[in-house]
């Protein structure tokens, strides 16, 4: 078990290392000279050289890479070329929107998916099962940005209940801020919920067939208690795995949804930074997103281990 943990942890480190290397290589060969982009077109060659030195662009590639990693590890992400402010403060500013949005979306999709998934499983092959799974099937097929457009069309254009985009800001009060996050969170949550509901249903169905649930029922537990006490708990493993996997989609999804609703979040910052060739911002956000996904998947694995002792011996499957 400890060996497995250590091995898994090293794998995590190597994954992050490879990720950072790829990001660095991909973004450092970007066409275009950031210095001349900042200074504009009329810039003199000597001012360009000075700026390149200031930004460390004249160092050798390995040196730049190690400086970057050392910076990331100490929380110093460098300065944004275009905004001329520390990248860390830019990212923090945006996280104050993106984190609550991701949290809202995940909570919403979990709260929707698990009860409906269990309900469908409990009524296997009955009307409500077919109905719920039909909706889930549809939900998986709906692109989240189109769903977002439909929400805007209905709730903003027709009913005028929500504004069609933008972020009121936390200083306008919790209510106002949350109100501007409702439609984005719903559009992010729906496709996720649809997948999660399907996974929950099949996971519960799978465990119901296993021996310990049968034993529980034989011991006299009612069908429903057996379902909730044993089946659902054990079904959590695959559900949590999918939740972990969904996180990376959610983070990517925020790029597109933040664009639909023009929310000043991390995804939009990344998108804008690409447009402005602000490489320092791009590489730091991408490594941050990649690291989040890798670490969360690691935690999911740990969770796995804690939840299902049967898995502890078998490190490979």
């Amino acid at each position: 078990m400890t060996i497995f943990l250590v091995k898994r942890f090293f794998a995590l480190l190597i994954t992050l290392l490879v990720a950072s290397l790829i990001i660095f290589l991909l973004l450092e060969i970007l066409p275009g000279d950031p210095a001349s982009i900042i200074l504009g077109v009329g810039a003199q060659e000597d001012t360009l050289t000075a700026l390149r030195a200031e930004m460390g662009l004249n160092l050798s590639a390995p040196e730049r890479y190690f400086r970057w990693i050392a910076g990331v590890l100490t929380g110093d992400f460098g300065r944004s070329y275009t905004y001329d402010t520390p990248v860390s403060s830019l990212i923090l500013e945006r996280l104050s929107l993106s984190l609550p949005l991701a949290f809202l979306a995940i909570s919403l999709s979990t709260l929707l998916a698990i009860p409906f998934g269990v309900l469908a499983a409990a009524n296997h092959k009955h009307f409500s099962d077919t109905g719920i799974m039909g909706f889930a099937q549809l939900g998986v097929a709906v692109p989240n940005f189109w769903f977002a457009i439909l929400l805007i069309l209905f709730f903003s254009v027709k009913l005028g209940w929500f504004s069609a985009g933008g972020f009121a800001g936390w200083e306008m009060g919790l209510g106002a801020a949350l109100k501007s996050l409702v439609l984005p969170a719903v559009s992010l949550a729906l496709p996720q919920a649809a997948i999660l509901a399907r996974v929950t249903r099949s996971a519960v169905l799978e465990t119901v067939r296993e021996d310990f649930v049968r034993t529980a029922r034989a011991k006299g537990l009612s069908r429903n208690s057996a379902l909730w006490r044993h089946a659902v708990r054990n079904a959590l493993i695959p559900v949590v795995t999918i939740l972990g996997l969904q996180l990376s989609f959610l983070l990517a999804g925020t790029i597109i949804i933040e664009n639909v609703f023009y929310l000043p979040g991390l995804g939009r910052l990344l998108f804008q930074a690409i447009a402005q060739r602000d490489l320092v911002v791009v590489k730091n956000i991408v490594i941050l997103l990649a690291a989040t996904v890798v670490v969360v998947n690691f935690l999911v694995d740990m969770f796995y281990l804690a939840l299902d002792p049967r898995l502890r011996d078998d490190t490979h499957e």
């Binding site: 905004y83 985009g165 023009y262 000043p264």
Partner: protein, 497 residues
């Protein structure tokens, strides 16, 4: 009984609604939220070409010796008056007294000397160094007088000193203006939430007439769909340059809004790389001019907003000559010219398009128009940073679409290394004599001659003059309807009650 209740309810409703309305009026009385499409890269107008910088800080945070109003007139600003010597070579500026910068530093002649010398210096990062090129020397005569000597007479020197690039900065804060601008204007910089908004507050120590607004927010909304939503929802009070012309009719029919169609200095052109084969052949450029249908582009890309142009000159200018008939829309003629130039079957080329919808939509229409005469264009969308790098700097392009928004910028055609690389000694001679001519009648004649040369040479595809589509809350007044310079001057803006 029933009627009493009804009256009571009515009363409640009325008092309730007055409460709501007075609340709104109170909130709106002294604050304005202005939507803007482009986020400035930084906030120092003396160190960047981006119009987005001026759109936030010009006249609001920073002031120059002179200022330009929405009718393109030159007004006194930090210089309350000036004398010009008879030979037009010496300008003596008399400065305002009692002006202090937002950080408390005193403004005097040394700041003017510093700012102008800094802008004109060899290593200057000013984006419009050409404005300062005629300056021979800047000298202070006491704290409130500055004497500027010019190398050659410059007819529009006072206008040029009113540009955002010529604002006066303090030596102490000049280095940090990019992120924390310190000027002398009626608004102070408060906060910049990157990617979202820039907040301005009141300058309690302002030297001049205090504006009606006490604070303002510039909300950055690059996406046209989002701009529509923000106006509809009241998240922004005004959009001085509204990016979605297709929605204008919708707003016009909505009594909550005022829609103003004004003029800009933006000549929107199909920029052509004049050194690149086959565009170096006049017949090819003429063929393109004949293949283009400006009105169709205006209707399709701008939903009717815009004025066709036949040369690089703003139609609202007094010296404008209508040359739209030089090469009228005539695909047959275009094919003939292409055949004469050795391309009977047409040819392939690229069309690089920056983000604004005039370019992206206009580009699709132009590609369709040119394909009808055999020129097959591959559309390549680029971001502004790439556009500056590839096209403007490295001249790596065949065709592109861009709006040249600087006022009176016909002089760019004399620069041999300018990105479209037009070289015509005859044209340069006309501009040279224009620069040393002060007689207005003679000047107009020369400007007309210059316009005619550009039109005849079909240097670029001259498409249309960009319209300024302003949409704002009907209770807001005093916003600029025209854009002689790119700015959102908020000093005259107020709320009607």
């Amino acid at each position: 009984m029933k009627s009493t209740i009804r009256r009571y309810v009515k009363l409640l409703l009325i008092s309730g609604s007055t409460l709501i309305f007075s609340g709104a009026a109170f909130a709106g009385e002294s604050h304005l939220t202005m939507g803007t499409v482009l986020e400035p890269p930084h906030l120092d107008p003396t160190a960047g070409a981006a119009a987005a910088i001026d759109e936030v800080v010009y006249a609001n945070v920073f002031e120059g010796l002179t200022r330009i109003n929405q009718n393109a007139e030159v007004l006194p600003a930090l210089a309350k008056s000036w004398d010009i010597s008879a030979d037009g070579l010496t300008y003596t500026f008399h400065l305002q007294n009692g002006v202090i910068f937002h950080d408390g530093a005193t403004f005097d002649s040394s700041d003017v000397v510093f700012s102008l010398e800094r802008a004109a210096a060899e290593n200057s990062t000013n984006a419009q160094k050409a404005l300062f090129a005629p300056i021979a020397s800047v000298k202070a005569q006491g704290p409130s007088t500055v004497v500027v000597a010019l190398k050659t007479p410059k007819g529009n020197f006072l206008f040029n000193m009113g540009w955002g690039d010529a604002v006066i900065v303090d030596p102490l804060s000049a280095g940090s203006n990019k992120s924390k601008p310190i000027g002398t204007g009626p608004f102070t910089f408060k906060r910049w939430v990157r990617g979202d908004r820039i907040e301005l507050g009141q300058n309690a120590n302002y030297w001049g007439v205090k504006p009606a607004l006490k604070s303002a927010t510039f909300k950055i909304i690059p996406d046209p769909a989002a701009a529509v939503a923000a106006l509809m929802a009241g998240d922004v009070d005004a959009f001085a340059n509204f990016p979605a012309p297709e929605m204008a009719a919708q707003f016009q029919s909505d009594s909550r809004f005022i829609v103003k169609v004004g003029s800009t200095e933006g000549e929107t052109i199909l920029s052509t790389n004049n050194l690149q084969k086959p565009f170096d052949d006049l017949r090819v450029r003429q063929a393109i001019a004949h293949a283009l249908n400006s009105q169709e582009i205006i209707d399709g890309a701008m939903f009717g907003f815009g004025t066709p142009i036949g040369t690089h000159f703003a139609p609202h200018h007094a010296a404008y000559v209508d040359l739209t008939g030089t090469y009228p829309h005539d695909p047959q003629k275009a094919r003939q010219l292409l055949a004469d130039a050795g391309f009977p079957g047409g040819f392939k080329a690229t069309l690089k398009l920056p983000p604004p919808s005039y370019a992206r939509r206009g580009g699709e229409i132009i590609a369709a128009q040119l394909s009808k005469v055999g020129i097959k264009l591959e559309i390549i969308p680029v971001e502004w940073a790439q556009w500056l790098d590839q096209i403007f700097k490295n001249k790596d392009f065949d065709l592109t679409i861009v709006s040249h928004t600087e006022p009176m910028d016909i002089g760019i055609y004399t620069r041999p290394t300018y990105y479209f690389q037009y070289r015509n000694p005859g044209f340069n001679a006309v501009i040279k004599s224009l620069n040393v001519t002060s007689n207005p009648k003679r000047r107009y004649a020369l400007m007309g001659a210059a316009q005619a040369i550009l039109a005849k040479d079909a240097v670029n595809g001259f498409l249309f003059q960009l319209a300024k589509l302003g949409i704002w809350n009907k209770n807001v007044s005093g916003l600029w309807e025209n854009s002689p310079v790119q700015a959102n001057d908020l000093t005259g803006v107020s709320w009607k009650n």
